[in-house]
Symmetry: C3
Subunit: 460 residues, 3 copies
C-alpha cells in the first residue's frame, strides 16, 4: 500500500487540517479558557484582598523575560537549527513555525485540563506560566520533527504534533503530579520524551532508498551559518529555559547559573572531540551546531537543585563528549543497523543527554541534605508539602528515576503508535528520491539554485 507513486499535493489536505483544527481550538477556547487572577481586570481587587503591595508581585514580571527567551528558542532556535540542509531551509523554519503555532494552542488546552482547571467553574485559568508551559510542550514535538526533517509532509507534522502534545500532557501529569518528580528544565518530560517519540516515528517511517536523495542531504556554506543562528539562540537562552518555571527567587537564580556553566563546559569538550576524531583535526559544523547544546539538556532536571557550579561543569563536560561521539559513531550505526534515520541527530542532542539529565536529577535529589539546602529550602525546592510532606530526599530520588521511565515509555510507545498512523498513504509525504527538497511543498522561484542542485548532483 505504501509503494504507490506518491502524491505530494497537499492543496486540500493541509488547508482542511488547518481550518478544522483551528476552528476546534476557537470552540474549545470559548468553552474552557479564561484569564487567571493575575491577568484579569480583577487583579486590582485581588491585590487588595491578598495584601499584595505592588504590581511588581504579578507573576508576569517574574516570568515574562524568561518567557520571551523561551519563545525565541522555540521559533528561531529550533527553526534555524534545522536550516542546515542545503535545500530545506523553508521547510525547516516554515513547518517549525506552523506546528509550533498550532501546538501552543492545543497545549494550553491539554495542559490546562490537567494542571490549571478551576473546579469551581470548570474553566482553565491562564497566565504567563501557562504560555511558558505551552512553549515547553511544543518543544518536545519540535525535537521529534528533527528526526523526520525533510521526510514528511506538513500534514504528517500536524498529526505528529496533535498526538505529541496529547501524550506529553498525560506523561507530564503522571511525572510531575502523580509521581511528584521535579523537572524544571524538562530533561525527562521534554527532551527524553520528545526524542524517543521522534526516533520511534522515524523508525516506523524507515525509508529504504533514502540515499536516492543524497544529493540534497548535507549543507552548503551559508546554510551552515544560518543554522548557527539557531544554535546560538538556543545556547544563549537555555538558562532562561531551565529557569523559566523554577521557583521565584533563588530557584530561578540557581537554575540560570547551573545552565550557564553546563553549557560553557559542553562547548569545549564538543569542540575537542570534533577535532580529535576528524582528519587533520578539522572541526565539523554538525558537531558545533548540535553537541554544544547537550549540556543544557542534561542539566535540565537538576538545574534548580544544589548541583553546585562544579557539578554543572562536570555534567556539561561529559555530555559534550558523549553527544559528539554519538554523531561520529552512533548515528551511522543506528541508520545502518537499527533502521533509524535521524536527520538532525536528535538521539545525540536530546535523547542521550535527556536520559543523563534524568539520572543526574535523581542522584542529586537523592543526595539532598538539610545542611546543604536548609530546612525551609529543602521543602521549597522539592515541594515536600501537603501530600508529600513526609517524603525523604532518597525517596524523591526514586520517584525521579520512575519519572524517567515514564518519559521513555511514553516516548517509545507513543512514537510507534503515531508512526503507524503516519504510514497511512493519505498524508502526502514525498518519495524516497525527493526528500529534503523544498520544491515539493514550496514555491521556489530561484531557479539558479535548482540548477546548482542538479550540477552538484553529478560530482557530489
Amino acid at each position: 500500500m505504501c509503494d504507490r507513486p506518491k502524491n505530494t499535493d497537499v492543496r486540500l489536505r493541509l488547508p482542511a487540517v488547518c481550518f478544522i483544527w483551528q476552528t476546534a481550538m476557537i470552540i474549545l477556547f470559548g468553552i474552557f479558557i479564561r484569564y487567571d487572577s493575575e491577568s484579569s481586570p480583577y487583579w486590582v481587587e485581588y491585590k487588595r484582598d491578598h495584601n499584595i503591595s505592588s504590581d511588581a508581585e504579578n507573576d508576569f514580571y517574574f516570568r515574562y523575560p524568561s518567557f520571551q527567551d523561551v519563545h525565541v528558542m522555540i521559533f528561531v532556535g529550533f527553526g534555524f537549527l534545522m536550516t542546515f540542509l542545503k535545500r530545506y531551509s523553508f521547510g525547516a523554519v516554515g513547518f517549525n513555525f506552523l506546528i509550533a503555532a498550532f501546538g501552543i494552542q492545543w497545549a494550553l488546552l491539554m495542559q490546562g485540563w490537567f494542571h490549571s482547571l478551576d473546579y469551581s467553574d470548570g474553566k482553565i485559568k491562564i497566565g504567563v506560566e501557562n504560555l511558558i508551559n505551552a512553549d515547553f510542550c511544543v518543544a518536545s514535538c519540535l525535537i521529534a520533527y528533527g528526526a523526520v526533517l525533510g521526510k514528511v509532509s506538513p500534514v504528517q507534522l500536524m498529526v505528529l504534533t496533535l498526538f505529541g502534545i496529547t501524550l506529553f500532557a498525560v506523561e507530564e501529569y503522571i511525572i510531575l503530579e502523580l509521581l511528584h518528580a521535579r523537572d524544571a528544565g524538562g530533561s525527562m518530560v521534554i527532551h527524553t520524551f520528545g526524542a524517543y517519540y521522534g526516533l520511534s516515528i522515524s523508525w516506523m517511517l524507515y525509508r529504504r532508498n533514502l540515499d536516492q536523495s543524497s544529493r540534497l542531504q548535507g549543507s552548503v556554506y551559508h546554510s551552515d551559518v544560518f543554522a548557527m543562528i539557531g544554535t546560538l539562540f538556543l545556547w544563549m537562552f537555555w538558562p532562561s529555559f531551565n529557569s523559566a518555571i523554577a521557583n521565584h527567587g533563588d530557584g530561578q537564580h540557581r537554575a540560570a547559573i547551573n545552565t550557564y556553566l553546563a553549557l560553557a563546559s559542553t562547548v569545549l569538550t564538543a569542540m575537542a572531540i570534533s577535532s580529535l576524531f576528524q582528519k587533520h583535526g578539522k572541526l565539523d559544523m554538525v558537531h558545533i551546531q548540535n553537541s554544544t547544546l547537550a549540556g543544557g539538556v542534561a542539566v535540565g532536571t537538576a538545574a534548580e537543585f544544589m548541583l553546585m557550579p562544579y557539578g554543572s561543569l562536570i555534567v556539561g563536560f561529559c555530555c559534550g563528549i558523549i553527544s559528539t561521539m554519538g554523531y561520529i559513531y552512533l548515528s551511522p550505526f543506528m541508520e545502518k543497523h537499527l533502521k533509524i534515520q535521524d536527520t538532525c541527530g536528535i538521539h545525540n542532542l536530546h535523547a542521550m543527554p535527556g536520559v543523563i539529565g534524568g539520572i543526574v536529577g535523581a542522584i542529586t535529589a537523592a543526595a539532598a541534605t538539610e545542611p546543604v539546602y536548609g530546612s525551609e529550602g529543602l521543602i521549597k525546592t522539592f515541594g515536600f508539602e501537603d501530600h508529600f510532606e513526609h517524603r525523604t530526599p532518597a525517596e524523591q530520588g526514586g520517584y525521579q528515576a520512575a519519572g524517567m521511565c515514564v518519559a521513555l515509555c511514553f516516548g517509545i510507545g507513543g512514537g510507534i503508535i503515531v508512526g503507524c498512523i503516519l504510514r497511512l498513504p493519505i498524508w502526502g509525504d514525498p518519495a524516497d528520491d525527493n526528500c529534503f527538497n523544498d520544491e515539493v511543498y514550496w514555491e521556489v522561484r530561484d531557479k539558479s539554485l535548482h540548477m546548482a542542485a542538479q550540477t552538484t548532483k553529478s560530482p557530489g
Copy 2:
C-alpha cells in the same frame, strides 16, 4: 520635470541632511530634553518622598524587557523582513537602520512636546516609556518604507520620516489625548496611519515603467531565509509590542496573552489560504513572511481589553485569511488599477489588519460591562478618570471609531502631501529600470552577484 535622466549621486545631499538634522537634534535636545524623576539621581529622594519602598517600583523594571523586545522588532524585525529582495538587502536593513535612528530622536521631541512636557520648567522629561513610544512612532514610518522599498533614495526616506513622525505625533495626540481613545498596540495610531501614509506616497510616486526592474524583483533562496529572521522576531516579540505601554499588572499581562493567541491562530489560516490558492498546494514564502503577522496588528487596540482568549483566536483566524487573500488578489489589482505599487504588501499586512484592529477595539470597548471588568478594572482599563469619569463604554466605543477615522485621514492626507514633496526631482531617486538595486546607493564589491543578476535577466 520628473522625466530628466536621474542623478542618483547622493554624495552631498545625504551627508548634508544627516549632519544638519543631527545638529538640530542636539540643539533641541539641549533646550528641551531632561531625565524624568525615575531616571535622575534625585530618584533616591523621590522614592523617600513618595513612600516607595523598593527600586523594583522604578518604571524601568516594569517596561525595560518589553522595550528591548520592541527595539529588536524595529531594527531586526522590520529591517530583515524587507531583505527578501534578491539585491536590495543592504538597502532594506541599512536604510531601515538610518531612518529609525533619526526617527527615534525626532519622535522623542515631537511626542515629548505633546505628552511629556513639564509646564513648570518647559522641559520634556524622558524615561523608558518615552523610549518605547519613540520606537512605536518610528514603526509607522518603517511600515511606510515597506510600500516604497527599492524605489526611493535615502534622502527621500529621511524626508518621509521627518514628516511621518510629525504627523504621527499630532494624530496620536488627537486620538489618545483629545478623543481619549485607547490604543495600546497601535492598530490605529501606528499601523493604520503608517500603512495609508506609505500607500499614499507610493501612489504619488507611481512608476509607469517599473517592470523594467523586474529582473531585480522577487527573491533568491537565501534572501527568503533572511526575511524569515525578520518575520520571526516580529512574530515572537509582538506580545511585548502590544503590552509594552499597557497598564502595569493585569494590563500588560493580558495584552501579552491576547497577542500570543491571535498570532498563533493567524499562522494556521495564513498557511491554509496560501496552500489552497496555489498550484499543487505549494506554500508561498511571501505569505508566510507577512500574513502570519496580521493577527498581531489586528489585536493591537483591543489587546488590553477583555477580548477573551477565544476572541483573540477569532481575530487572528480572520486576519490570516484576509491578509493572505490580499496578497493573492488585492495587491495585483491595486498595482494594475489603482496605480499603487506596494513592494512589501503593507496594505495586506498593516492597512487592512490595522483597520480591523480599530473596529475590534471599538466593538470590544463598547461591549465592556462592569461584571466582566469589575468596577475598578473598568475605570483603570479605559482610563475613566478626571475629565472622562462620566464616559460610558458605549461612548468609548464611539470615540474609538472616531480615532480610527482620524488615523485614516492623517495617513491618506499626509501621504499625498508628502508624496508631492517627494516628487520633486532633487532627492536622487533611481530610474525605473534601476529600482530594487543596491548598487545605486551602496558599494557592492561582490561582482559574481552582479553577473548572476545579469544572467537571470535573460530567461527571467
Copy 3:
C-alpha cells in the same frame, strides 16, 4: 624559526588544550566557587533575616533581562559581526563561541578572586552579577580577536583568551577597586584594554605577505547581510550592556537612556561620512557594520553619570565621524606604516571610541555638582562612601583619567608579551597565503564555494 612551512593540523593541540583547561576549571570551581546568598536555598532565611519582603528584591530580577541581552551581544553580536569575510564565517562565529565559552569560566574565577571572595570561608560566591561581569570580561578578548581574525589558529585564540582574561582581572581590580574609578559600560576596562591588547598582538604577529590571501579578504553579498545581524544585535542591546551593572533604579535607567541616544546619533554621522568620502556617495557596508556602534563604546564610562541627553548625542555625533574616518584613512595607514593589520578595524570601533569614552567619563565626573546630582545622588552615583567619602568630583575626574592610563598600559604591555608567546611556532597558525580561509580548520563540504573562490581570484 617562524619561516618553516606551517603545520595547521591542530588535531592533538586543540583537544589537549580544551580537555586540560576544562578539567582545571572543574577542579578550581570545585575548590572555590559556591552560590551566593541570593542564589542559594538559604535565600528564604536570608530574606527573613534581612527583612526583605519580596522575591522581587532578588538581584536576579533587576539584572537578568540585561544579562541575557549582554549574552546575546557576546555570542551572536560579536560572532556575527565578524562573519563578513567571504570564507571565514565558520571561524568567526565558531571560534568566537569557543573562546567565549572558555573565557566566561576563567573570568568567574579570576574576577571572583579579586572581587567576590568571601574571606570567611575562602570561597567565591556567585550570582547573576558575576555572570554579567564574566561576559564583560570575555568581551575584551573578543574585541582582541577582531584584530587577528583569520590569521591565527584556535589554539592561539585560547592562549590569547587565557592571558587576556587574567590581565583584564588585574587591570579591572586596579581601576575599579584601587583607583575607585567608575566604568559601568567599560569604555576603559573593556574596550580600551581589549582593543590595544588585540592591536599589540596583531603588531607582534605582523604578516609581511598577507596580500597573498587577498583573494579571501573582503566580503560577498550574503556575508555582509550576516554581519548586519551582529551589528544590529550589538547596537540594540548596547543600552543593556552599559546599564547591566549600574546601580539599581535611576542608575540603570539613566545608563540605558544615554546609550540609546548616543547610538542613534552615531548612525547618522557614520552614514554621512561614509557617503561623503566615497565615489558617487555610495555607502560602504564596512562603515555601517562597525562605525554605527562607536557611540555605544564612547558613552560606556559616563552612561550612568549626568551626561544629559544632549551630551549623549554629542558623544555619538563625534564618534560616528571619527570612527568612519578611521576606517577610511587610519586603517590603511596603520597597515602600511605601523605594521598593524587590523582585520575588523577594532582601532576605529573600540580603541579610539574607548579612549574618548574614558576622557568623557573623566570630564563628566570632574564636572559633577551637588545641584545636578543631589547630595545623596552624588554619593550613590560615584560611590563616595567608606574609604572614599571625602573624595571630591574633581579628584574623581583625576582618578578616572588615571584609570584610562592603566587600561592603555595593560592593553599595550600585555599584548606585546602575549604576542611574543603567540609567535612561537607551535600553535598551528596558517601561512600567509592561507589566511581568512575556513578550510584550514573546518570541514567545508561545499565545493562549489571552493570553485567560486578560485574563480574570483583571477579577476579580483
